[in-house]
Symmetry: C2
């Protein structure tokens, strides 16, 4: 059975999508079978993998609202598999709000697919709403991308409270894999201080190494590539490979 | 009557909050009376202004859900006035979804305060949900902060569709003031290309100057200051002052 990781942080623009895409690509390089799940109505992961709505057989919206089997909407980009999103997922959020068992919609949809994979990575939107709750309910562990700046750091405490709620009500075994320092600018005191304070202030492990800030990462989405394909020798690509090694180890 | 501007972009981390705070401070420097509205349950603007939930007499949640007068929850930090947010605003979002006239809650709450101000700036969350719809319904114009990278640029088309919807249904006079290039790294081809493509691909005006990427901006929130107070001579502070001059001109 695969390891299911929710990549979550309600602060915007902290590299959730980039981390899901890059880690997914790095795990596939190591020969693992990987499924990515785009749970954001803005569909940035789907776009970053080169898919437009007109290319899709369907999206997670159809799975959640119309109960289509997830396998029917699954897309494949090279060795990476994806359950794609479209803007209709906004409708799924509203639909779920009134449904009993609404936190389990994603977990139920994923269940038939799980035996086919070694790792499932879920890309969450920048909110702690019902879509993120679904990801936390379906996951074994949470991976928290952290942009090492003040506004990003303070949200993590709120996220940890939400994780505690999910443990009480819908997923008692939910763990926290740790924090990944993203778009890290090691030359600034601010980033160094924020990173150094994580174990003490948040009580979380920092999974090494930090992913350095690099224009190669920002360039990749418009080329429909992950940074591992766009700039395979870059420091950022190597950092995501090292993180993938850590995660692959934990997934045994 | 004041000019009401919604600062909106559903992409996360594109400097919506930073732009509201910095522009607000710059407009106050010019002697204008400014009200800031924190419409994000993550309350980053409220935090950046040095306010914690325990310091507050109340928040926008009480105004929207319990119909408290906005004046009762208004906070003052120096010359800047603020309608603060707390995480309870998540509850306001759910409350509004089932209410008739739900798009007008903010407009109604602001109305009694408007005569006291020259400019009102509304900080939106990273979504196109009911809170952002409230901001667009209450505003004269939308200001769109744009991080000059691919994932941020593609969301603006979606935002423009939402603005068109609001014009059809709840605010026929809603205008778009233009795009502000935020955290701009002028040395990279990517940022230059994205910025240059805005008029052609999005049909929007770019309000000069771009706000340069600067560690001074990222340092400011943890010191409860805007970049204008923290680093008044920095290029980023000067850029926000120039933008404030442009906006003050349009607000006559
Ligand atoms: N290591 C890095 N170096 C430089 N740019 C990066 C890096 N990681 C991510 N970025 C860029 O930063 C921006 C934000 O990243 P991303 O969209 O992955 O964040 P997110 O947390 O998923 O955002 P949202 O909250 O909107 O979903 C993107 O333009 C991305 O390409
Ligand atoms: N010009 C700049 N230079 C450097 N850092 C900046 C600049 N503008 C903003 N930042 C930093 O970038 C991060 C994101 O900015 P901010 O929180 O204002 O974006 P946002 O769009 O409001 O995010 P969200 O979508 O989560 O509400 C913050 O840590 C902020 O301090
Ligand atoms: Mg994302
Ligand atoms: Mg913000």
């Amino acid at each position: 059975m695969p390891r299911v990781l929710a990549v979550a942080n309600q602060k915007g623009g902290v590299a959730k999508t980039t981390t899901v895409h890059s880690l997914g690509a790095a795990l596939v390089e190591r020969g693992l079978r990987v499924l990515l799940v785009d749970l954001d109505p803005q569909a940035c992961l789907t776009f970053s993998m080169g898919l437009e709505p007109q290319d899709l057989a369907g999206s997670l919206h159809d799975v959640i609202v119309h109960h289509r089997p997830a396998e029917e909407v699954r897309a494949k980009v090279g060795e990476l598999h994806l359950l794609p999103a479209t803007i209709d997922l906004t409708g799924a959020e509203i639909y779920l709000l009134s449904k009993t068992g609404r936190e389990y919609a994603l977990a139920r949809a994923l269940e038939p697919l799980l035996p086919q994979y070694d790792v499932v990575l879920i890309d969450c939107p920048p909110s702690l709403g019902i879509l993120t709750i679904n990801a936390l309910t379906a996951a074994h562990e949470v991976l928290v991308p952290l942009q090492c700046e003040s506004l990003s750091q303070r949200g993590v405490a709120q996220l940890l409270e939400t994780i505690a709620d999910v443990r009480s009500f819908t997923n008692k075994d939910l763990g926290v894999a740790g924090v990944v320092a993203t778009m890290y600018d090691g030359r600034t005191r601010l980033a160094q201080d924020v990173l150094a304070s994580v174990p003490a202030t948040l009580g979380l492990e920092v999974l090494p190494p930090p992913v350095p800030k690099s224009i190669r990462v920002a360039e990749a989405p418009s080329l429909s590539r992950s940074v591992l394909e766009h700039a395979p020798r870059s420091a950022a690509a190597e950092a995501y490979r090292a993180l993938a090694a850590t995660i692959a180890e934990r997934c045994r």
